[in-house]
């Protein structure tokens, strides 16, 4: 029976622990406004209501902010994946000594604190004439969000044997074709992981819109959440509803990806998903 404990009871406890924050966020958003905070662990609010969600759009142009966020994500996520995948493949192609140098260089890039570039980047954007456009929000995508994602790809591509890459070359494929048709399809779990991480990043990106966007009607949802936070610091249901809306797309994207990403055998899961 200790087998069952090891295989199921422990994982289930861990899972419950990690799911708890999200659960409490959800139930928190369903509490009626003005109810005193619960004094015991409460799994479901007594008079659950969607009232907070109804009040949200009245307080701010919720849907415009959401649409702006969605548009940024729609452009930035594919761009991030593309950048990371191409760069990671480049690292993979280098001979071992050069590869080591590239990895060290990427770690150095990773080392540069974000605070070092926030304000000074503005200068670059101003010179390029792109302040108050979507471009500054796409800048992280051009950097693959973080060199970490590039390294993730490089490492995944490492799993594709040299002989396959060479075989494809001999069959007449250029390196871009090899990347697209031989290497990329084999690291789809990595692509999914990068896409999820990129989506979470871009969707929750707060500092870039704060610093580089000026027009209120271009704002993304994380900025809007800050307005909400101020509005009535004690209106927990409203706040939680805002958080739920901020979190929901990430959860949905993740749930779509986890079917493959976290399944017992990602390769098999991908094949089942084929048309």
């Amino acid at each position: 029976m200790s087998r069952v404990a090891g295989r199921f009871v422990l994982p289930a406890l861990v899972a419950a622990l990690f799911a708890a924050p999200l659960w409490f966020m959800l139930t928190g958003s369903l509490r009626p406004a003005g109810l005193p905070p619960p004094r015991t662990l409460e799994l479901w609010p007594p008079e659950a209501t969607l009232d907070a969600y109804r009040r949200l759009p009245e307080l701010m142009p919720l849907f415009r902010y959401l649409a702006n966020s969605a548009m940024v994500a729609a452009v930035a996520v594919p761009l991030t994946v593309l950048t990371a995948a191409l760069t990671g493949f480049g690292v993979r192609l280098l001979p071992p000594s050069a590869r080591r140098k590239a990895v060290v260089a990427l770690v150095v890039v990773l080392l540069v604190p974000v605070t070092a570039v926030w304000a000074t980047r503005f200068e670059v954007f101003r010179l390029a004439g792109v302040t108050d456009t979507i471009v500054p929000l796409l800048a992280p995508a051009l950097l693959a969000v973080s060199p970490f994602l590039v390294l993730l790809y490089a490492w995944s591509f490492g799993g594709v044997p040299d002989s396959q890459l060479q075989s494809a070359r001999l069959e007449g494929a250029g390196w871009l074709t090899v990347w697209r048709r031989v290497a990329l399809p084999q690291v789809r779990p990595a692509t999914l992981a990068v896409a999820v991480l990129a989506f979470t990043f871009h969707w929750a990106n707060f500092i870039d819109p704060l610093l580089y966007l000026h027009s209120g009607d271009r704002y993304t949802f994380p900025l809007a959440l800050r307005f909400l936070l101020l509005l009535n610091p004690t209106d927990w249901p409203l706040l939680m509803a805002g958080c739920v809306i901020a979190t929901l797309p990430c959860v949905v994207v993740f749930l779509l990806a986890q079917r493959v990403l976290l399944s017992d055998d990602p390769l098999a899961a991908l094949r089942r998903g084929r048309p």
């Binding site: 044997p161 002989s163 396959q164 060479q166 075989s167 494809a168 070359r169 001999l170 069959e171 007449g172 494929a173 250029g174 074709t177 048709r181 031989v182 399809p185 084999q186 789809r188 390769l267 991908l270 094949r271």
Partner: protein, 335 residues
């Protein structure tokens, strides 16, 4: 199909750090010839193929196909197909897609590519695997997929790196025949690396024996077998290999040199000049090999018919055919 053009290697050298994998190879393969390459493990066979394919840059020397120097031609522009020792199948593609890959890359229309892939699979007996993935096939089946992938194309040069090792004896025999038929039909220049004595002897127009990054001998198989250029080749081809007797010994003196005799050129003969004790009898079904030892400690292998009632410890007398002796000088070269 392609007429290809011959392959010429001139002074090829390649080292991996301190390891000198290929050390000056010159080879001339006329268009359409099939050459088998044999040599001990680590002798640089795979490396030579990789140099021809352009997957490695030679440290020195030149590869030319059809008279054209390929120095600056990247692999995907060389008209070369290769079967890798480890198959190099694409795990994310089905067997059919694996076979079609090279055609699709070269913009052959999908329907046509499918048809050709189907035909190649049919020929190699893997037609029923077409919709499986490589990891759902057994070792031998995978190897045939790799072969099919090379065969659907019509390159100037085929490079086959031990394409049959994972097949069982029966399958090996039939695939070997298929390969030969195909070669005759397409006529591409082909280099075939193998460890198998039978393949080396039967498949090629010529056999190339490599050792330590160099070509020791190249020529028609029977010629190489009958007149090995040096003791290395003599000891390498043939199973069991030639009995080499430094100094000549019982086979007749050869001061400073070596005298060799093949096991099949020794025979049991109660009146033979050589006396030996039987160390072991290896019965191979159709024949047997006697491992014997002369009183002076010299070991001689003798090929005999099976079902002899000899036991280890028995004493036998052997005769040899003086015409079939091979003589080598002190440096091991044939005289």
């Amino acid at each position: 199909m392609t007429d290809g053009g011959g392959l010429r290697l001139t002074g090829l050298v390649k080292a991996y750090g301190p390891v000198r994998a290929v050390e000056g190879v010159d080879l001339d393969v006329p268009a359409g010839e099939l050459v088998t390459v044999v040599g001990p493990s680590g002798s640089g066979k795979s490396t030579m193929l990789r140099l021809i394919a352009g997957l490695e840059r030679p440290d020195a020397g030149m590869v030319a196909v059809g008279g054209q120097d390929l120095r600056d031609v990247p692999p995907h522009r060389r008209s070369v197909a290769m079967v890798f020792q480890d198959y190099a199948l694409y795990p994310h593609l089905t067997v059919r897609e694996n076979i079609m890959f090279g055609l699709r890359v070269r913009k052959v229309p999908k329907g046509e590519a499918r048809r050709q892939a189907g035909a190649a699979a049919e020929r190699l007996g893997i037609a029923d695997l077409l919709d499986r993935y490589p990891d759902q096939a057994s070792g031998g089946q995978r190897q045939r997929v790799a072969l099919a992938r090379a065969l659907v194309r019509s390159p100037a040069v085929y490079l086959l790196d031990e394409p049959l090792v994972s097949l069982d004896a029966q399958l090996r025999l039939s695939t070997r025949a298929d390969l030969l038929a195909l070669h005759r039909q397409i006529g591409s220049t082909t280099l075939h690396v193998t460890h198998d004595q039978a393949e080396a002897m039967t498949m090629g127009d010529r056999v190339v024996v490599m050792d330590a990054g160099r070509i020791r001998q190249a020529g028609p198989p029977q010629e190489v077998y009958d007149a090995p250029a040096d003791t290395f080749v003599a000891g390498f081809l043939g199973s069991p290999p030639m009995n080499l007797v430094p100094g000549g010994g019982v086979l007749g003196g050869a001061a400073g040199g070596t005298v060799g005799v093949r096991p099949e050129d020794l025979a049991l003969d109660p009146a033979g000049p050589i006396e030996a004790t039987v160390d072991a009898v290896e019965t191979l079904g159709s024949e047997a090999v006697l491992l014997t030892r002369c009183p002076d400690g010299l070991r001689l292998a003798v090929r005999t018919p099976p079902r002899l009632s000899l036991r280890p410890g028995d004493t036998v007398r052997l005769r040899f055919d003086p015409d079939r002796l091979h003589r080598f000088d002190a440096a091991g070269r044939r005289v």
